[in-house]
C-alpha cells in the first residue's frame, strides 16, 4: 500500500523514519553510525532499497556507507576522494590563496537510471563520481578546473558543493551549487561546466555581480520543468526560467529573504517553499516563530504556514539539506531543525506535526515515496 521513508542525517548519526501513506504514525529507527556526522543520506530512484550515506568525523575522516535493504543494514564502501592532478588553490576567508583540501562529502546524488552510479559533492568543492556503487571514486575535474576556482571561497560552513540536480529528460544536463562560488551547469554529462550566476547580486564580494563568488545556499527544480530553477541565496530568493542563464529576484513579501532550505511541490511546479531565517548572523526564525513560507506563483507572493509549528520562543535553524517533499497526493513536505525536530505536513504545508522531536541537530532530510 506504499508509504514514505524519510532519511534523516544528523550531527550524531542517521535515522530512518517510516510511515504508511496516511503519514500519521511514524516509526523511528536509529541511530545508525552513532556519534558520526551524517551530512547526507539519499536513496536511488530506480532501487529504493539502495541508499547511500555520507558518514564523517573531525577525528576519523570520511566514510561512505551503502545499504541494499532500505536502510536496515549497511556496509562501508569506498572513502578515497583524491582530486585529479594538482588541486591548486582557492580563496581563503581573508582573500589569500589556500590549497584545495578534501574534508568531507556534503551531498550524495544517486543516478536517476543506474543504482550503481552515484555522484558526491565534496568540501573543498569538487564533484566526484562512482560507477561501482560507491566502491571507487573519481573526480569530474572539469568543474574544479573551470578556471574560476582561485576566486571561489568558503562560506561559514566551508567551501562545499552541497547541491546537485539531475535533469530526467536530458542526462547530459546537471546543475550544482557551491558555497561560496555559485551555481554551475553542465550540458555534456559533467565534462565541462560553466557558471550560471547572471542576475545574482551579493554583498561581501568586491564586484556584487561577479561571475562567481556568490553564496548560493540551495537550488531546487521540478523534474517536469528542468529549465526553471529556484534558488535560496545567502540573502535573496531567486528564479531562473532559462536553465540558470539569467536570474531574477522573487523574494517578494517574505519577511526576510535570508535562509537555507527550499522545496518544490511534487505536483505543482510553481508551488515552492522556503523557511525564512532572520539574518546571516542570527540563524533563527524571526520573532521566535517557526514559519514555512509557500508561494503558489513561483515566487514573489508568499504566504506563511504556521499551523502546528512553534510560534513562540523558537530559535532553531533549518539547514540547506533539511527540506524535502514526497510524491504522494497530497504532497508531503518535511523539514528538520538544528533543535532535532523533524516536522512533516501531509497536506502540502497547510498543517504540520512533529514526527520526532529530540534527535541531534538535523543536517539533511530526504524522502522516498515507496510503492
Amino acid at each position: 500500500m506504499g508509504g514514505v521513508r524519510l532519511l534523516v542525517g544528523t550531527r550524531k548519526g542517521a535515522f530512518v523514519l517510516t510511515s504508511d501513506a496516511r503519514r500519521e504514525r511514524w516509526e523511528v529507527a536509529g541511530p545508525h553510525f552513532a556519534g558520526w556526522e551524517i551530512y547526507h543520506i539519499k536513496g536511488s530512484k530506480v532501487d529504493a532499497n539502495r541508499i547511500y550515506a555520507s558518514q564523517s568525523s573531525g577525528w576519523f575522516g570520511q566514510q561512505i556507507q551503502r545499504s541494499n535493504d532500505g536502510g536496515k543494514t549497511w556496509e562501508p564502501v569506498g572513502n578515497e576522494f583524491r582530486y585529479d592532478g594538482v588541486p591548486g588553490t582557492h580563496q581563503w576567508y581573508d582573500g589569500t590563496q589556500h590549497p584545495w583540501e578534501f574534508k568531507r562529502v556534503w551531498h550524495l546524488e544517486p543516478s536517476l537510471t543506474d543504482p550503481d552510479l552515484v555522484y558526491a559533492g565534496v568540501e573543498d568543492a569538487a564533484l566526484f563520481q562512482s560507477a561501482d556503487g560507491g566502491r571507487s571514486w573519481r573526480e569530474l575535474p572539469g568543474l574544479r578546473t573551470h578556471g574560476s576556482g582561485p576566486k571561489w571561497q568558503p562560506g561559514a560552513g566551508g567551501m562545499c558543493l552541497h547541491t546537485m540536480l539531475q535533469v530526467p529528460s536530458n542526462p547530459k544536463r546537471m546543475y550544482i551549487a557551491i558555497s561560496a562560488a555559485g551555481a554551475f551547469r553542465t550540458d555534456d554529462g559533467g565534462a565541462t561546466w560553466r557558471p550560471i550566476n547572471r542576475g545574482l547580486r551579493s554583498q561581501g564580494i568586491p564586484d556584487e555581480t561577479a561571475e562567481v563568488g556568490h553564496c548560493v545556499h540551495r537550488i531546487v527544480m521540478h523534474p517536469s520543468r528542468p529549465s526553471t530553477l529556484f534558488m535560496q541565496k545567502h540573502w535573496d530568493v531567486m528564479r531562473s526560467d532559462d536553465g540558470g542563464d539569467s536570474w531574477r529576484e522573487v523574494s517578494g513579501n517574505l519577511p526576510t529573504d535570508f535562509g537555507f532550505a527550499m522545496g518544490v511541490h511534487a505536483h505543482e511546479p510553481e508551488t515552492i517553499y522556503v523557511v525564512p531565517i532572520k539574518s546571516d548572523s542570527e540563524h533563527f526564525p524571526l520573532d521566535g516563530k517557526l514559519r514555512v513560507y509557500r508561494s503558489r506563483t513561483g515566487g514573489s507572493e508568499w504566504e506563511p504556514l504556521s499551523k502546528g509549528l512553534p510560534q513562540q520562543d523558537c530559535y532553531v535553524n533549518v539547514l540547506r539539506g533539511a527540506m524535502t517533499v514526497d510524491a504522494l497526493d497530497r504532497c508531503g513536505v518535511y523539514f528538520g531543525t538544528t533543535g532535532g525536530q523533524v516536522y512533516g505536513s501531509a497536506d502540502a504545508g497547510d498543517s504540520w506535526t512533529a514526527l520526532v522531536r529530540d534527535l541531534p541537530a538535523v543536517l539533511s532530510v530526504e524522502a522516498q515515496t515507496l510503492a
Partner: protein, 98 residues
C-alpha cells in the same frame, strides 16, 4: 603479537571487539603496525592516516607505555614492550569534545 587498541568508533567501523592482535615480521614501527592494521581492516584506510599524504590525521594520537608517540617519526621502532606484546599500541581520538 602486537596489541593495538582502537577508539570505539573505529572498533565499530572495523567490527572488532577488544584489542586487535597483529603478527608482524621485522621492524615494529608506527608505519608497519598501521600498514598491517589497514591491510586486515581496509575500512580503516583514511580513518587514521590521510589517504593522500599518508600522515596521521590531526585529531588522532598514538600512545604507548605512558608516552605520547604521536610526533615520533613513523618509521622509528616502537618501544620494546610494544614489540614484545607486553604493552598495547593505543590509537586515540584527541580529547576535543563534540
Amino acid at each position: 603479537m602486537i596489541r593495538v587498541v582502537l577508539p570505539v568508533h573505529l572498533r565499530t567501523l572495523a567490527r572488532v571487539e577488544g584489542e586487535v592482535g597483529l603478527e608482524l615480521p621485522g621492524l615494529i614501527s608506527q608505519a608497519t603496525v598501521l600498514d598491517a592494521l589497514e591491510a586486515r581492516y581496509p575500512v580503516l584506510r583514511g580513518a587514521i592516516r590521510d589517504h593522500v599524504t599518508g600522515k596521521r590525521r590531526p585529531f588522532i594520537r598514538f600512545f604507548a607505555c605512558g608516552e605520547d608517540l604521536s610526533h615520533e617519526p613513523p618509521d622509528d621502532p616502537l618501544p620494546k614492550p610494544v614489540a614484545a606484546g607486553e604493552e598495547p599500541f593505543l590509537v586515540v581520538g584527541a580529547m576535543a569534545g563534540g
